[in-house]
């Protein structure tokens, strides 16, 4: 049985929430979790001052309702499974290295990006956002998967080192710039950067596997046309190594 956090009332301002899921959080009791200290606009406070908790520890956590003022949620997450049944703030999953962070709503800027002062974004795990994201999604990501059910803001995959970002909606402007080895999968629309070069149109087997996982495990809106479709492969960014790629779905 998972632990469920429910907000007592809407938060007054942005809160640095990285302490919630720091370290070995998966074995904490609800009381221990509620004792963790967060940093808000008016100073430090206990999680229990803003949330109630129910359930028992099993490595999974559910946050009910809107969490759009929780910033850095899941930053550095190394394992376990976290579900946000609402929106999340900026830096959701920033620097995460394992586990799964599922956001049923939308996320802010730098989802899966690098934590402050870090050269790398997420280095592993799965960040699933059913809504849309703000700017710099997956910036400097080193490994891992980011799937966005809606659209992304500008600069998605900026300076990506490796890893995968899938957008079911539109990629924002300036996607994939300075991408080294990362993969950007576009199922909606994308403005092709001038520093990428077209390669071919084909059906990558690994992408089919990935789509099956996104559909079956996370309930994302993968269609048969996505599974059986072909994808235009663009190599880039040639302003960098040129070993990255954009896979753009050839919609019928």
């Amino acid at each position: 049985m998972s632990i469920t956090l429910t907000p007592r009332q809407p938060l007054a301002g942005p809160v640095d929430a990285r302490a919630i899921l720091a370290g070995a959080w998966g074995a904490l009791t609800p009381a221990e979790l509620l004792a963790r200290e967060l940093e808000g606009p008016d100073g430090a406070f206990a999680l229990g001052d803003a949330f109630t908790a129910a359930g028992s520890a099993d490595g999974t956590l559910v946050i009910e309702g809107d969490a759009s003022r929780l910033q850095w949620l899941g930053a550095g997450l190394a394992g376990g499974s976290v579900e946000v049944r609402g929106n999340a703030g900026d830096y959701a999953g920033a620097g995460m290295s394992g586990g799964a962070l599922v956001i049923r709503g939308s996320a802010g800027d730098f989802a899966g990006g690098g934590a402050a002062g870090r050269k790398r974004g997420m280095t592993g795990g799965e960040l699933i956002i059913h809504g849309s994201t703000g700017a710099s999604t997956g910036a400097a990501a080193r490994r891992g998967l980011i799937a966005v059910g809606g659209s992304t803001g500008p600069f998605a995959g900026f300076s990506m080192i490796a890893g995968t970002i899938v957008a079911f909606g539109a990629f924002g402007p300036d996607t994939g710039l300075l991408n080294k080895r990362g993969t950007l999968v576009s199922l909606g629309s994308i403005t092709r950067p001038s520093t990428y070069r077209p390669a071919c149109s084909y059906a990558p087997d690994w992408l089919r596997m990935l789509f099956l996982r996104l559909r079956d495990r996370y309930g994302m809106a993968v269609s048969p046309a996505h599974l059986d479709g072909t994808y235009q492969r663009l190599s880039g960014d040639f302003a960098e190594l040129g070993k990255g790629e954009i896979l753009e779905w050839n919609a019928a």
Binding site: G124, R143, G144, L145, T164, R181, T183, C200, Y202, A203, P204, D205, W206, R208, M209, L210, L212, R213, R217, L227, K243
Partner: protein
């Protein structure tokens, strides 16, 4: 014990511990998955001469495969665990990598012992290869002229059992073949079992060593050759003029036991005089399959 008039000899099959991988091949259609599987399992009847033993375990529906395409499951077995990776890289590299539309996956994901396969094959990509981690498993994308070949980085390795067997002693060659075909048809598709010989049947059962050579590790099983009845110490009952053997390898002893039971039952047809099994007196293999114990309750 008799089953439909066929004598079940009071003896046992003696089998050995081996190491196995399960290979899942998928392709755009069943045809191409099968083509790759047939090539991969070719010339893999016995470790004596082929370095490994392999066979098709069963055909997989798209819903059973990692990429949702039609597939085939294969078991490949070796005697020494450090041999498995070599054989997998050789065979997958030559027969699956080369085959249109295929991808290749590990079918033993829970096995703690792992052997690196895609991690070796990736070098065919000459630096253009890349990898993806999906669900915690790494897969290599190797660029090929058709597009990309996808192969899992490592494969599970488990202890298994090789050399389960039974011999069909028949009045004539056609009866022996009919019984062997019936047995193979009944065993086919059994999870965890392969029949590595041609069509699942062996006509040239062997004994350890040779009378005429110190270097040969196996030679014809003269005690069961009908043509030698008058010139050797024959184990053939009167009236037997043809013998065929079914050899079974399995992921565990239970899988072999179950397959032997249904196979022997199917082989008990008109023209078959007895079913027996090959062993070495119980001194070589730790797994013993006693025929009469296996067939308890099957008398109709």
């Amino acid at each position: 014990m008799k089953i439909r008039g066929v004598e079940i000899v009071d003896t046992f099959a003696e089998a050995f511990t081996m190491r196995s991988a399960r290979i899942i091949i998928t392709a755009v259609s069943p045809r191409w998955a099968r083509e790759a599987a047939l090539k991969l399992t070719g010339f893999a009847t016995s470790v004596i001469g082929c370095k490994c033993e392999a066979g098709i375990e069963r055909v997989l529906e798209p819903s059973e495969t990692p990429d949702g395409r039609p597939g085939v499951s294969i078991l490949l077995m070796v005697m020494a665990k450090d041999e498995l990776g070599k054989r997998l890289i050789e065979r997958i590299g030559q027969t699956v990598l080369t085959c249109p539309t295929t991808a290749c996956f590990d079918g033993l994901p829970d096995a703690p012992d792992r052997v690196r396969v895609g991690a070796g094959l990736r070098f065919f990509g000459d630096g253009f290869q890349s990898s993806k981690v999906i669900g915690g498993r790494r897969y290599w994308r190797i660029p090929v002229m058709e597009g990309e070949f996808l192969v899992q980085e490592d494969f599970g390795m488990v202890k298994c059992v090789g050399g389960g067997n039974f011999l069909i002693l028949a009045r004539d060659a056609s009866s022996a073949l009919a019984a062997a075909e019936a047995a193979v048809d009944r065993i086919a598709g059994t999870t965890g079992v392969i029949l590595p010989f041609p069509g699942g049947v062996v006509r040239s059962g062997s004994k350890v060593g040779a009378r005429t050579s110190k270097t040969m590790i196996a030679s014809t099983n003269d005690a069961y050759c009908p043509t030698l009845r008058a010139v050797t110490t024959s184990d053939l009952p009167p009236g037997v003029n043809s013998v065929l053997e079914i050899v079974l390898n399995g992921l565990d002893a239970d899988a072999i036991s179950g397959a032997m039971r249904v196979g022997i039952d199917a082989a008990c047809i008109e023209g078959v005089l007895a079913i027996t099994a090959g062993n070495y007196g119980g001194k070589l293999g730790p797994h013993h399959f006693h025929l009469r114990k296996l067939m308890e309750g099957v008398t109709a």
